[in-house]
């Protein structure tokens, strides 16, 4: 079961049209996701992690977006699907969990009806079966009194409860692939822990694959199996989760790990990554894009490439071999 490939992304690039010109937001990304696996994608805002997710689930406006490469999902080339064919998959075999549950729910429709909607579209259950399934789902995501909650409106629930509703909608049709875009960023820590445990339980049941997009490394350490670190639309490092936390190589990964205020840190100053992610118009694809943020290190010449330096451990470029933080020089 474990090694069955569910989704393979092959050399995918995404460019957006801004004022008539195309700018590359994602450059040549390749990833593989297996059943029962949690693949975490981390990076700062502007690194392209959400763009990658919306590409997989097909939410781009195709008039202003140019996508190249291949995305293979359960033996289907999803970039070649028509809009109607995609609508059959989306919400059925693929489910998405959004960051802001209040914005993702319709304020005027009762909770039960919003969950039922995805059953209406993708299944041929009878009305009674759907009703039963809605209550079953609410129960599964840990909502007390499913019958009562099904009749309520989104504003009557707390943030954590709303996020559970979003999860219930995403898993209504037992999807094989769940994409979770910052699912716990808006939540309190206690609720975050519950939601993460819930996601894991659901995954075990369906043998689904999960793509988890987050900027919270603590969350990654809790649930991920594999981690891909993105910077400026490229993967700069990819490794099994234990390797990434114990033996990170790329300067960007190491900078992120260092900037984190951990519970054990007594240091007075936190590490700051200088500068900012370049804007989409300023990304020179022919250079080492992270180099400007570590100016004391000799940059790679030309465009650095992603190489496998140990089994399943990929790092971009060569500059990491000599990289040291300023205080280590």
């Amino acid at each position: 079961m474990k090694e069955e490939t569910l989704l393979s992304i092959n050399g995918v690039s995404v460019a957006f049209k801004i004022n008539g010109e195309f700018y590359t937001a994602i450059d040549d990304v390749s990833l593989e996701l297996h059943r029962d696996e949690v693949l975490a994608i981390v990076g700062e805002s502007g690194s392209g992690k959400s763009t990658l997710a919306t590409t997989v689930i097909g939410l781009h406006n195709m008039n202003a977006t140019k996508i190249t490469g291949e995305i293979n999902f359960q033996n289907k080339e999803i970039l070649e699907l028509s809009e109607d064919e995609f609508n059959d998959i989306r919400g059925d075999e693929m489910g998405m969990i959004f960051q802001d549950p209040l914005a993702a729910l319709n304020p005027l429709i009762r909770i039960g009806d919003q969950i039922k909607e995805s059953l209406d579209v993708h299944s041929d259950m009878t009305e009674d079966q759907k009703q039963a399934r809605v209550h079953e789902l609410l129960n599964q995501v840990g909502i007390p009194h499913p019958e009562r909650v099904a009749k309520q409106f989104p504003h009557q629930l707390s943030g954590g409860m709303r996020q559970r509703i979003i999860i219930a909608i995403a898993i209504a049709n037992k999807p094989q692939l769940i994409i979770a875009d910052e699912p716990t960023t808006a939540l309190d820590v206690t609720i975050q822990a519950q939601i993460l445990d819930l996601l894991k339980d659901i995954q075990r049941e369906n043998h689904a694959g999960i793509i988890l997009i987050t900027h919270d490394l603590g969350v990654v350490a809790e649930v991920a199996d594999t981690v891909a670190v993105m910077y400026a639309g490229e993967i700069v490092e990819q490794a099994p989760v234990a390797t990434l936390f114990n033996d990170a190589k790329h300067p960007y990964t190491r900078s992120l790990l260092r900037a984190m205020p951990t519970i054990d840190s007594e240091d007075d100053e936190l590490y700051v990554v200088e500068g900012a992610v370049p804007s989409i118009k300023d990304m020179d694809r022919n250079s080492d894009l992270f180099a400007p943020r570590i100016p004391w290190t000799k940059p790679d010449v030309g465009h650095p490439v992603l190489k496998e330096i140990a089994p399943n451990h990929y790092v971009r470029g060569e500059s990491w071999r000599e990289f040291k933080f300023k205080d280590e020089l």
Partner: protein, 319 residues
């Protein structure tokens, strides 16, 4: 150390109106019987989930929230009345940094106008020295003086938050209330803002009340931490008291929920979390009174205060 502010039995209750006459039928106890002391030049952390009332306390201190009863003593004077606040120019000395930097900066004003506003309100300066002061403030938070003529939308989230800090320190305040100042920011920018706040405090000797739900950030920022739940403090102590020797079940639950970077023991940590959660659900009624509110706090060491049930203090504190 000199006491800067003393909060005594602060209560903020919101009325719930219902029925035909729209009479007050009940109250929401947003903050109920809060007492603590802020010393000059120190940072205090206030931690709780959303809805625990931590922002209400912050707003009550700066005077944005009408208090129901209790006292807020600033340098010995009760500042809970607007007239007293005006007379002693209280809002010059106590400033606030908000969570959402975009909505707390006026989009139609330049950075110069935004930062100069508190200076104009409280300090009489001529045009030239006002300008010098703004440049100096921008320099403190690491922005170039060209930023003066730009508008808030032209800056990134971290830069905007630093502009908010520059505005807050413009009048040389003695106390800054920082309400979730970094929770909307990326990791690297968060580090930048936290470093700024620490540095500014060291250089200018400002007291901070740091309100947050992120225990990792709070631990980094402060040695004095209060844990709040449902409008009341449940535990108050030093960093070591709270993190190494938590007494209240709610504190234990909060601490166990923090994601840990400990991949080898992931399943063990998950099991432990489930156990703490089960214990919390089971013992909840024991630690809270019949209205669901925490009991008053008792002192268990020089620095450590815990809310304990009245009948068996020793049992509750012994765990």
């Amino acid at each position: 150390m000199t006491v800067l502010m003393e909060i005594k039995d602060l209560k903020v209750h919101y009325p719930i109106r219902s029925g035909f006459w729209n009479r007050i039928t009940d109250y929401v106890y947003a903050a109920d019987g809060i007492s603590f002391t802020i010393e000059a030049g120190k940072t205090y952390g206030l931690v709780g989930e959303s809805g625990s009332g931590k922002s209400t306390i912050g707003k009550a201190i700066v005077g944005l929230e009408k208090i129901t009863s209790g006292q807020i003593l600033f340098n010995g004077e009760d500042v809970s009345k607007p007239s007293v606040r005006r007379k002693m120019k209280y809002n010059k000395d106590v400033q606030m940094i908000f969570q959402d930097s975009l909505s707390s900066l006026n989009p139609k004003k330049t950075i110069y106008q935004i930062i100069a506003e508190p200076i104009r309100n409280f300090d009489k300066m001529d045009k030239e020295s006002e300008k010098q002061r703004v440049i100096q403030l921008l320099d403190i938070v690491g922005l170039s003086k060209n930023a003066m003529f730009q508008y808030p939308h032209q800056f990134s989230g971290g830069q905007r938050q630093r502009i908010g800090i520059a505005r807050a320190i413009a009048t040389n305040p003695k106390l800054i209330i920082a309400d979730e100042p970094v929770s909307a920011l990326d990791l690297s920018i968060q580090a930048q803002v936290l470093n700024f706040m620490k540095r500014i405090q060291k250089e200018l000797g400002i007291s901070f009340l740091f309100i947050s739900h992120d225990l990792g950030v709070v631990r980094h920022m402060t040695k004095n931490i209060a844990i709040m739940h449902l409008g009341r403090f449940v535990e108050l102590g030093t960093r070591e008291d709270i993190y190494n020797n938590p007494q209240h079940i709610y504190t234990k639950r909060l601490l166990s929920a923090i994601p840990q970077i400990d991949i080898a023991n992931r399943d063990a940590n998950k099991a432990k979390r489930a156990q703490v959660e089960a214990e919390y659900q089971e013992k909840r009624s024991h630690f809270y009174d019949q209205d669901g509110l925490a009991y008053p706090m008792h002192q268990i060491s020089d620095t450590h205060w815990v809310s304990t049930p009245p009948t068996n203090i020793s049992e509750g504190a012994g765990k």
